[in-house]
């Protein structure tokens, strides 16, 4: 491969380009499609703020790749990314040994080398390779939950620079364009397990409470389900993308220790299942779980939930629909008995 005869200077350029690549995204995004100019875009990339790759970068620095022996294949996707040691990522992590040990609450700061397209998850991963605080103290690396890393499982939810979101989709370049320290805290509305891990089992219990399911007769063959228009599917599908991550309840002022409020996620499930033709057969049973203390009427209409939902679920609409249906059921339900 021609790469093999690349000299160190090329490796340098490479590093710069990759740093620039990840920048360009943030840069280009606000522009409407079609306004992007071909080569201008490329030129702009190198100069993008935070691209952090000075032209006089030391030759030893390599980015994604390209330090390899002559005979071995090297591919960005197939070779471990090498840290760019000229740029550091600083993380301030709120640590705690458990809910029963409030006295162990503390901040610890870590510094890890930057990787191309780095996110908070991979920054935390870097700590584990050599777990030392900036003060040089060897500590146990912070613990956090992670699974899919593509914002579809909900595991890695935490508070990042004060905002609740997933660590996988929190890109370092966007959070810390100039090397600012990034703060990581556990969600506050759930019992702390350790460090950034909290116990969200209450959310799964709520799914039981609101009967978030179709009352299926069985998994034996009974032919297809009810027909549905593409429009109805298009309305139902976004509601069904809730990954029980907890962002909405974390941001909700009504969801706290002194209130039984069930929270937006569970209310959205009521709407979702009441929209389905088979689910609607048990619509009233679900609405009844929404009455009384902790139900839909406890919503304080702060609308924080819809702001923080990573899947952009129309939670406020769901709450409005369920509130309306619940009121109808409360007012007129007795007539039907």
């Amino acid at each position: 491969m021609s790469d093999d005869d690349d000299d160190d200077d090329d490796d340098d350029d490479k590093a710069r380009a990759h740093a620039g690549d990840s920048e360009s995204g943030g840069d280009d995004r606000p522009e409407p499609p079609g306004t992007r100019k071909g080569r201008d875009g490329v030129g702009k990339r190198a100069a993008a703020p935070g691209a952090e790759a000075p032209a006089d970068r030391p030759a030893a620095v390599a980015s994604l790749a390209r330090k390899k022996s002559a005979k071995e294949p090297a591919i960005s996707a197939m070779e471990a990314p090498q840290p760019t040691v000229t740029r550091w990522v600083r993380l301030k992590v709120r640590r705690q040994d458990g809910a029963d040990k409030p006295e162990t609450k503390r901040w610890e700061e870590f510094k890890v080398p930057y990787l191309p397209q780095m996110n908070v998850h991979s920054a935390l991963e870097q700590i584990r390779l050599d777990p030392q605080t900036v003060g040089g103290q060897t500590v146990a690396p912070p613990v956090w939950e992670a699974a899919c890393l593509e914002e579809v499982c909900g595991s890695c939810t935490m508070i990042i620079n004060g905002k609740v979101r997933q660590a996988c989709s929190a890109l370092i370049n966007e959070l810390s364009p100039n090397g600012e320290a990034i703060t990581l805290e556990p969600m506050s509305k759930f019992p702390n397990v350790r460090d950034l891990v909290v116990d969200r089992s209450a959310m799964f219990e709520h799914l039981k409470k609101v009967r978030a399911w179709i009352d299926l007769d069985g998994t034996h063959e009974l032919g297809p389900g009810p027909r549905e228009s593409p429009e109805a599917q298009a309305e139902r599908y976004p509601l069904s993308r809730c990954m029980t991550c907890g962002c909405c309840v974390e941001a909700c002022p009504q969801f706290n220790d002194s209130s039984p409020f069930i929270g937006p996620a569970a209310i959205n499930q009521v709407r979702l299942f009441n929209m389905h033709p088979s689910g609607a057969l048990h619509k009233n049973a679900r609405l009844e779980t929404m009455m009384g203390a902790g139900g839909v009427a406890d919503c304080g209409k702060a609308q924080n939930c819809v702001e923080v939902c990573p899947k952009e679920i129309p939670l406020v609409d769901s709450i409005a629909v369920v509130a309306r249906d619940t009121t109808k059921r409360m007012l007129f339900g007795w007539l039907l008995k």
Binding site: M1, D13, K14, R16, A17, G20, G25, D27, D28, P33, R36, G38, R45, E72, S76, A77, M78, E79, A80, P81, D97, G98, M118, N119, S122, E125, R128, P141, V143, A147, L149, E150, E151, V152, C153, G154, S155, V193, R194, V197, D199, S201, W213, I214, L216, T219, E221, L222, P224, G225, E228, S229, P230, Q233, Y237, S240, R241, M243, T244, F273
Partner: protein
């Protein structure tokens, strides 16, 4: 003789079956067990709703034929066998293909928001290795939607009481007890080597305990984290499969690892861009002029090389994944025609995956889930700019060897305790952790299907097995379970305590990085024996160095450091099975490709790789073995049952090569042998 009561043991305990893993395969197994009135303990590494099945994007195959194309389960069977390069036993494929339409309808009844046609019917799209519209889908997050549907149904069983033989509820006993954030450590084997339970660890309190189970079903997914960065979730280390392999379970076709052609390179993960992008019209290309500096939108169509369409006119961009990945690799790596980067003055290892010719509204309806991932993680709008992609490790076709029993039609015999049984009696495996359905290469959208179908088979199989037991695991002496628990406790304490005072101890995460680097570079798309020898040497080196690991964490709570040491030790064992299996198989078949042996060699290698653990650092490859299932001895060989579709060379450059039915030139099945009613698989009982 089977015991009289399958609900309660002689000692009065509720008899349960253990299911490990809460992805699609595990949850479907749980539902089938509950419907058979078998209570379940469900052990999962993560809350089941966060299992790796959520990552599946494109859809689930079923030959429902609503587009009037003449598709049928027979064609689905033929194309799956052909796509897998004839390494999979065919009766399980037939069972799966026949059951697929019913499975999709069942999911539809569960409320999965599948995309719809104007008439309100399920919509289907195209996927790789077929010319038919066979793939049902819910946007581009189908796996997530299917997992949620099964999760919801299992939740109903979580609140359902266990009923005794008179139909009276047993207070305090629910049909499903979930143990989430629990790590499977080992199967518990009695003195006859029969599996009677499992030992697991609570990852919050680090408590280790034994669970009795009349059967144990492993549904623990794939092992792609052995390769470090892949399209898999970080939980997919293969630790459970490795643990039972070390306890004697046979592992099949480990070397068959799928590399998906289109993923986005990233620092922590190679994020998948689903095959459905091509199924909905996406085109793969590189500039004709390898030094073309223009932005992709400025390059006119005639100056682009749509190399998949050019090389494979029959299936075009929808050739199977092994073929597409090799073509991408060749284009970028051997021909140096990857996308040119003017900044670096070099051709990157990337190609364009282009959807910009499609209407934005159409794309949002059908592919928003994946395009959102591209936009979020790359920061470029894929509706108006071609995406840049490269292959990534994606799926393990290989896995724990499991048995099957064929019926007279050549399909699976319903309820046979042999279906999905591993070589350890009482231990079952289902989902990506088994080796059953995909041969040497899996077709897209067959994995969700094989997980759910596998669960529909494994549940009844485990229930039948339980009925056949003369004595329940719940009546065995407590000492048996205590012993297994103590052994695992001691092992955990070894990990916590070892090398505490050692100078320059090893770091488990760093060693994992080295393992991943060797595996990713040399045990994926193109394999070479001399290089594989080096990989195996590297694994041996790491086997030694792992003994010097000092855990990064000594905490008594949520100790992820110590847990990872265990997973790493288990990954090293499976890595050897994969690499040594690849070293041995001197041919090219499906995803396993050796340039030095470019052809498939049926005379020597039309057989499953069967690996048996000898000791740490040694794999024994066997051609046959005997095991016992539900009291019946079974003789197994490595012969592949090809009784339904005759092996032939794959030729995806020709339309209809996988099944001529698609071209309308041949009736379904004519190019494959029809099964004789009494076909008995060669070499089996």
């Amino acid at each position: 003789m089977a015991s009289k009561n399958t609900i309660r043991s002689e000692g009065g305990k509720v008899r349960r079956v253990i299911v490990v893993g809460g992805g699609l395969a595990g949850l479907m197994t749980v539902i089938k067990l509950c419907e058979a009135k078998v209570p379940v303990d469900l052990i999962s590494l993560v809350p089941v709703k966060r299992s790796h099945s959520v990552c599946a994007q494109g859809g689930i195959n079923a030959s429902v034929n609503t587009k009037g194309e003449g598709d049928s389960p027979q064609v689905h069977l033929e194309e799956t066998a052909y796509g897998g390069d004839f390494l999979a036993n065919q009766p399980p494929i037939k069972g799966m293909a026949d059951a697929a339409p019913g499975i999709v309808y069942m999911l539809d009844r569960m409320g999965v928001p599948f995309n719809r046609t104007a008439e309100g019917l399920l919509d289907f799209r195209r996927f790789g290795g077929t010319l038919f519209h066979r793939t049902a889908f819910a946007g581009a997050t189908t796996g997530q939607q299917l997992l949620y549907a099964l999760d919801e149904q299992v939740r109903r069983f979580e609140i359902a009481e266990v009923q005794d033989e008179h139909g009276v509820g047993i207070p305090g006993e629910k049909m499903v007890r979930k143990f989430e954030f629990w790590d499977f450590l080992s199967a518990i084997l009695d003195d006859n080597g029969v599996c009677v339970g499992a030992v697991a660890q609570d990852l919050k309190t680090m408590q280790i305990r034994s669970f009795a189970g009349d059967a144990v079903v492993l549904a623990t997914g794939g092992c792609g984290i052995i390769y470090g960065r892949s399209t898999l979730s970080v939980i997919c280390t293969g630790t459970a499969a490795s643990a039972v392999y070390q306890q004697g379970a046979v592992y099949g076709n480990g070397e068959c690892i799928q590399v998906h052609p289109t993923a986005i390179p990233g620092a922590d993960k190679l994020r998948l861009i689903s095959e459905s992008a091509r199924g909905e019209g996406g085109r793969v290309w590189v500039p004709l002029d390898a030094k073309d500096k223009r932005q992709p939108r400025d390059i006119p169509e005639k100056e682009r090389d749509y190399f998949l369409e050019r090389q494979y006119p029959g299936y075009g961009n929808l050739v199977p994944r092994d073929i597409a990945s090799r073509a991408l690799f060749k284009t970028c790596f051997h021909e140096h025609r990857g996308i040119f980067n003017a900044d670096t003055n070099r051709n990157e290892n990337e190609v364009y995956l282009d959807l910009t010719h499609k209407d934005e509204k159409f794309l949002r309806e059908k592919l928003a889930g994946i395009l959102e991932i591209y936009e979020k993680f790359v920061g470029v709008d894929p509706y108006h700019n071609p995406m840049k992609v490269f292959p990534a490790v994606h799926y393990s076709m290989g896995g724990l060897w499991v048995d099957f029993e064929a019926d007279a039609r050549g399909s699976l015999k319903a309820g046979s305790p042999r279906n999905h049984a591993t070589s350890i009696q009482g231990l079952y495996a289902v989902g990506e952790v088994d080796y059953q359905y995909h041969g040497a290469n899996r077709l897209g959208a067959n994995s969700l299907l094989s997980c759910i179908y596998g669960g529909m088979v494994a549940g009844p199989a485990a229930a039948s097995y339980q009925k056949s037991l003369a004595r329940s695991a719940f009546d065995l002496p407590k000492s048996l379970f205590d012993k297994a628990e103590k052994k695992q406790q001691a092992d955990y304490e070894r990990i916590l305590g070892q090398n505490q005072d050692k100078k320059n101890p090893e770091n488990a995460y760093q060693l994992h990085g080295q393992l991943a680097e060797a595996m990713l570079r040399d045990c994926t798309i193109e394999r070479d024996n001399a290089t594989l020898d080096k990989v195996i040497d590297k694994i041996s080196e790491l086997d030694e160095r792992v003994k010097n690991v000092k855990t990064t964490d000594a905490s008594p709570r949520m100790n992820q450091g110590a847990q990872f040491v265990r997973h790493l030790e288990n990954m090293l064992v499976l890595a050897r099975v994969i690499a040594q299996g690849a070293r041995n198989r001197d041919e090219s078949r499906g995803a396993h490709y050796k340039p030095a042996f470019p052809k498939r060699n049926d005379a020597d290698w039309q057989r499953s790789t069967l690996a048996k653990h000898e000791q740490k650092g040694a794999v024994k490859f066997i051609r046959e073995f005997d095991y016992t299932c539900a009291g019946q001895p079974v003789h197994v060989t490595d012969a592949v049952d090809t009784s339904l579709v005759a092996p032939r060379e794959r030729k995806y450059e020709q339309a209809g090569a996988a099944s001529a039915a698609a071209t309308g030139k041949l009736e379904p099945g004519k190019d494959g042998r029809r099964p004789a009613a009494d076909t008995i698989r060669e070499g089996r009982t």
